[in-house]
């Protein structure tokens, strides 16, 4: 299965099957890339969590737990004024299509199991867009910008090439 055409310019692309076995690998990959891009450790963890939640939703709801369906993940650095200042992550599938407007997290005052994944993704990432792919399946685009460095110049929460970071 070839990856979608719109992912061809991505800096990294990954194809995985819709088995939960592979979510931890995708999560570790995203965490490693975000560290190298200079995100703060908390953001590295949370971006990886957003990817994990997105993959879980595709496997559980999109593919209804079928473990052998394709999922594509692609990553681009987001640049401003010639410098990397964020990350764009696109996740595509061939799962059943639903209206993007129907994809909502549940109301948080309503404490019940389920419906938290979409809320987590929207809370963690700066921009989240769901679309129907013309060729079938869904596309999720997520963008996260780096937070400005603290005014006092401290770097205690920032990963420098993984040094001092804890997974």
């Amino acid at each position: 299965m070839t990856s979608p055409d719109d992912m061809k310019g991505a800096h990294v692309r990954m194809e995985l099957l819709s088995s939960p076995i592979y979510t931890s690998g995708a999560r570790d990959f995203v965490q490693a890339v975000t560290r190298r891009l200079g995100f703060a450790e908390l953001d590295c963890n949370q971006i990886a969590l957003a990817v994990d939640e997105a993959l879980c939703n595709i496997m559980r709801h999109g593919y209804e737990n079928k473990p052998d369906q394709p999922i594509w993940l692609a990553v681009w650095p987001v640049e401003a004024a010639g410098e990397a200042n964020g990350i764009q992550i696109v996740i595509e599938d061939l799962a059943r299509q639903i209206e993007p407007a129907m994809i909502k997290g549940r109301e948080l005052h309503d404490v019940k199991p389920g419906g938290l994944g979409v809320h987590v993704i929207k809370e963690v990432m700066d921009k989240v867009t769901y679309e129907k792919r013309p060729e079938g399946g869904m596309r999720l685009t997520m963008i996260k910008h780096q937070r400005p460095a603290p005014a006092d110049g401290s770097v205690q929460d920032r990963c420098e090439g993984g040094k001092g970071c804890h997974a």
Binding site: L49, E53, C56, K112, G117, V120
Partner: protein, 116 residues
Amino acid sequence: MPDGQTLQVGFETQGQNVIVSPQGEIGYSEATVFRTWLRKAHDSKSPRIIVDLAKVDYMNTPGVATLVESLQISKRNKTRLILCGMNEKVFAIFKIARLDTVFEICPTLTDANAKP
């Protein structure tokens, strides 16, 4: 295809407390196993269930959902559910989901045991 889940769960009764101690990651694959152990704790009819998360490296929303379900059972049964030992990464997801104020949360198992 193997399910890839690596969760191990300790289960212990200490007086009026049942202590459930998962170890590993609680993600999509592991949530079902975790739920089974939490149900077993509720079935024991102990007045207090303590879930010690000190050895849980990572949790996502399917894991959190099993705890929300467990909290609902506790409320129905008029028993207590106390979570303890969460690392920062695990606690962060409770904060994002605004569940940090819904659960009774203690820093350590010792603190949870000492709760009146």
